[in-house]
Symmetry: C2
Subunit: 351 residues, 2 copies
């Protein structure tokens, strides 16, 4: 696709922002910071806006999704909005029976376990993403020179929900399938990669300035399984957006053994889980990869002096990488005091 004249990547609306500068390996004039799950339950204005709407319903109301996306940017002064949506939205829009059950997570009407189940998955028409494009357009207009990050679920994590039919701790179903029935696994992962890739493309085409692939459950895989049965499909998902030129970020939890393989799917930056020090992640990646992370979410509830020392150390360690975007090493816990997040942004911008 050719970028239209008013495309944000074309006109460079956000190109000089600290976030995009850092993702591209430059040295911005302030340390950029945003928080995974910043648009969410930690904010009273989020809980108010969501009242009466189910999770997926909220994602599909463009005005509401844009408003929720903007809330943490207004409140905290973070360096990016992260689009408010969910990794199962492409399934929902494609007509797969799925809902987010409060206190549980994504639940499918019918798990996808057999070759016939996979063959029966709907074809995806880009037109289904119209409400996503609309929400992004509204958010981007208000964000101005602050970049919006689009996102999608990595195929392994999305497929884990599809095979189990619901959240699980060990993801045995998908892990059995990748070994026991590799042909069905491949077909499922190709479908999921294309669904996630098109979802991300819709967001970037509509104005998102960067894209993050979330592989929440990748840490349940050993390196060999990850390389063979997950990474190629993450790469395929990103193939849908590479021509758009937006910087790409890859994050998963418990992935300290997988960082190199996660970089090799073809991204500009790698998000680091809270368990691995930034300087060690940088060493493992050969000192050549932009990093994002990795404040321990558990410390958001600790006394300020403990949290401050932790964050200063992370900023210090990040200076050794070719670029560093400060973030959490996992999502914002719902019970977080939002005042702490605002104060963290001020601290990081003051360093």
């Amino acid at each position: 696709m050719t970028l239209s004249p008013d495309h944000p990547l074309k006109d460079g609306r956000t190109a000089q922002s600290p976030l995009i500068t850092a993702y591209r390996g430059g040295r911005p004039n302030q340390h950029p910071i945003w928080f995974m799950r910043q648009a969410g339950r930690s904010l009273p204005e989020y809980r108010a806006a969501r009242e009466g709407y189910g999770m997926l319903e909220s994602c599909l109301k463009p005005e509401l999704a844009a408003e929720i996306t903007l809330q943490p940017v207004r409140r905290h002064g973070v360096d990016a909005g992260i689009f408010f949506s969910d990794i199962v939205i492409p399934l929902k829009l494609a007509g797969v029976g799925v809902d987010i059950v409060p206190g549980v997570g994504p639940v499918l009407e019918k798990p996808i376990r057999t070759p016939d189940d996979v063959a029966a998955l709907p074809r995806i028409d880009d037109a289904i993403f119209a409400p996503i494009r609309e929400a992004v357009r509204i958010a981007v207009e208000e964000l101005g020179t602050t970049p919006l990050i689009g996102f999608a679920g990595a195929p392994f994590t999305v497929a884990a929900y599809m095979v189990e039919g619901r959240p699980s701790r060990d993801h045995l179903g998908p892990r059995t399938m990748m070994h026991g029935d590799p042909a069905t696994w491949q077909a499922l992962m190709e479908w999921t990669a294309d669904a996630s890739g098109r979802f991300l493309r819709a967001q970037i085409e509509a104005g998102a300035s960067a894209g993050q692939l979330f592989d929440s459950w990748a840490g349940s895989l050993g390196l060999e399984d990850y390389r063979r049965s997950a990474a190629p499909y993450s790469s395929r998902a990103l193939d849908h957006v590479r021509d758009l030129g937006a910087p790409l970020v890859h994050f998963g939890t418990g992935t300290s053994e997988l960082l190199g393989a996660m970089y090799e799917v073809g991204v500009d930056a790698v998000g680091v889980d809270y368990r691995l020090p930034i300087q060690e992640a940088n060493r493992r990646l050969g000192g050549r990869v932009v990093l994002q992370g990795n404040i321990d979410p558990a410390l958001l509830a600790a006394p300020w002096n403990v949290l401050e020392a932790h964050v200063r150390e992370i900023v210090r360690q990040g200076a050794s990488a070719p670029g560093h975007v400060i973030n959490l090493g996992h999502g914002v816990p719902p019970e977080t005091d939002p005042g702490v997040l605002t104060r963290l942004v001020e601290l990081v911008h003051s360093i």
Copy 2:
């Protein structure tokens, strides 16, 4: 304590068994194998025996706990019994309000979060372990020359339940406490270490031939946090049993970054999670540590030829370590076909 003349470690009842030989770094005449959670829901005879009894209630009825311990040894011909109990049994026996809620896990009546909560924890009198000793004695008598493995929860994992009051995914409460209120954390971990240590001592004194410390949630910690805030207390728990001379094993999930530190608490063998190849674990531990593991539980439901190839590769890799006990790299999933486990034991014994 002096070992009594009829103590199993004294009379060497199990000293020549393949399991104990391997734990001590010798080369037994057959590859020893047992399964974490082998005494459990995968067995119809277990489900029948448990009928009408709550989980903790079952653990505290000596005849029943012994029977459940023996079931998988009779059925599968594994090289060890693992004592049927639960890591929160010491809390229950000490008078802490705790129960195992089906489908949820350990739930405390009142989470332990403040210095006063910790100070109010009951003193532990060794007499409370009488039903544990009795169950072990019954099981050991039937086991004959087959060793019984005693076990206890590592202090971090037990304390994680105590602080959260129930299972959680990220263990934010205990991880906040270890940084935010280190004095309370230390007091809680010392109490928990002594509870687990005495629980394990009761089992070994009554006839268990080895002891395994389970740190299910250790993988939620980075190496620095693990070394500072968890490992010293695991070592303290094991200090309660070192004089008994039984081989000690240490296992946790998601611990590939922690293996060296887990060994250094002072054990004879380290259990390896399914994510890390045995030969890589052996390399990280300098080729000097007996290993246990690490069949991927997800493959128990795969076609036999896939599982067989996987297990043969693990046995092959284990030959490079100074000793190798074959096991799963996590517990038996409840839905496992027990026939597959029996066949696995036959396979491993035939290699």
